[in-house]
Symmetry: C2
């Protein structure tokens, strides 16, 4: 029987810390604020927006939403984003992707102020993850994975980690973050031969391949810690399930995160923590701004 690494206790601990951080910033006159920029009314976006708003309000972070019609023109979108970039009362901007076809996503990404890029999509953020420097912000899901490992005191340094997946939001950033904490990391992907042979050697296995129950017991070893990032639709149970076949794997490994109720739950929490961090960086810079405008 494995230890089940639930997301809820991690969320609780992060939230308590965030409440204290927000209070401290408020005492300095800084009110951490996120702006959510959404084009159209896609169901997934609206649902993520609602859960982000709820999480923000729970810790005292203010939310501004700016919604454009699905057929918004480029100049309209640019103006909206620029106004949020230039608003000193907004510390973080969440911009829903993908944008509708008529809008240039790369242009939007380049326009977004790196200081407010709490979702980690600008060059500054990506370069920061790649170089392990504290510049922008890492992808929220990647950091949620690390928060889970840290919360449950999973040893990382000098350990072997395998990641199934090489995406920009999980596979690659988690590899960089684990390597920065001195793990030896291998990314497996669609062109990797004999994945179970590689993952069996790993002390930590991160699964983010987006395939329902891809990982069975043959991928694991009894001392392994598994973090499952998958959120796949299971047509049999008609419920969301993970990339790991939990029922078969849980009995034979040391620890495993469930889906749902695992990393996914931590992700919006990390987003809010980025807004607070952006506000903190802004607060630190304030004396400089004041000097410059004298």
């Amino acid at each position: 029987m494995a230890e089940v690494l639930k997301g809820a206790p991690v969320v609780k601990a992060l939230s308590e810390r965030m409440i204290r951080d927000v209070e401290e910033l408020r005492s300095q006159g800084i009110y951490p604020t996120i702006a959510i920029l959404r084009v159209g009314d896609r169901h997934d976006d609206v649902s993520y927006e609602n859960s982000a708003i709820k999480r923000c309000h729970a810790v005292g972070v203010r939310v501004v939403t700016l919604t454009l019609p699905a057929d918004a023109r480029q100049d309209e979108f640019d103006r909206a984003l620029s106004s949020l970039n230039n608003d000193p009362g907004v510390h973080g901007i969440l911009m829903f992707m993908p944008l509708p076809e008529q809008l240039d996503a790369e242009r939007a990404r380049m326009l977004l102020s790196p200081e407010k890029d709490v979702d980690g999509i600008t060059d500054r953020s990506l370069s920061g993850v790649f170089t392990s420097t504290d510049k922008g912000f890492p992808s929220c899901t990647a950091q949620a994975t690390m928060e889970m490992l840290h919360f449950y005191n999973i040893d990382i340094a000098r350990k072997k980690a395998a990641i199934i997946g090489r995406s920009l939001v999980i596979g690659r950033p988690v590899a960089m973050m684990l390597m920065h904490e001195n793990a030896t990391v291998v990314n497996c992907h669609t062109s990797t031969e004999n994945i179970p042979e590689i993952t069996r050697e790993a002390d930590i296995l991160i699964v983010a391949c987006g395939q329902l129950h891809f990982v069975g017991p043959e991928f694991t070893n009894p001392d392994q810690v598994i973090i499952d990032i998958g959120t796949d639709w299971d047509p049999e149970t008609e419920k969301i399930s993970g990339d790991v076949d939990f029922d078969r794997v849980e009995p034979v490994v040391r620890a495993i995160s469930p889906v749902p109720g695992g990393v996914g739950r931590i992700t919006t929490c990390v987003l809010v923590s980025h807004v607070i961090e952006a506000a903190r960086r802004y607060a630190k810079k304030q004396p400089l701004y004041t000097d410059a405008t004298k």
Copy 2:
């Protein structure tokens, strides 16, 4: 007896291609030009500058050098870099690092125009390598490693690659580039336990740990291809040698690059190819610029 992967034939092939590329650009009225910005007269910088100039002239790329005294002030340096950024006749800028202590290296890196960043140090370039998109330019040594593998037709897709090192100029970018070409990649480093056990499994071994003759036969297997990026001083022979103990390893592997005469030789060649590519991107954008200034 291994195949010895020499740098010279790679340089020859790249140079022939570059001469054709430069001719084509010249026929469009574009003269590919690199600006070299150097502060002080450090011996290594001057020697690299000289070999870069020679390589540029060999393929018809123009060189502008801008040299500041070792005690240059920040505003002086900023002005010099800005003038090169703004000069439409300059397509690439090589800025020697590290800068003297009184200058802010991070500020310089942020100031450098990403379009002209032929040495791959800006956020745009680093993010481009991390995301495997063709935005900036990868580090020259990392790309030189890939050019060598390509020239000698070493299979990469579906192969296992091990890298000893995790630096920003080799270990990390080469990992991303190999993974982009569908290898399964592991980075070993100072916190990796039992490195030989890991590297023995690799079809391709990239060594960039900066330790003289670190890799002996016990790190290898008979089918392995080794690229040695080390340039270490050997006090015994009083010559430059590699991270691999060539004399002991060469007899027991499939292929190996020598030091000197291996990847190092390709590096300045790649730098020049980046200048040509920057000029080509500039040429492509030209009609747009013309429209915008109407």
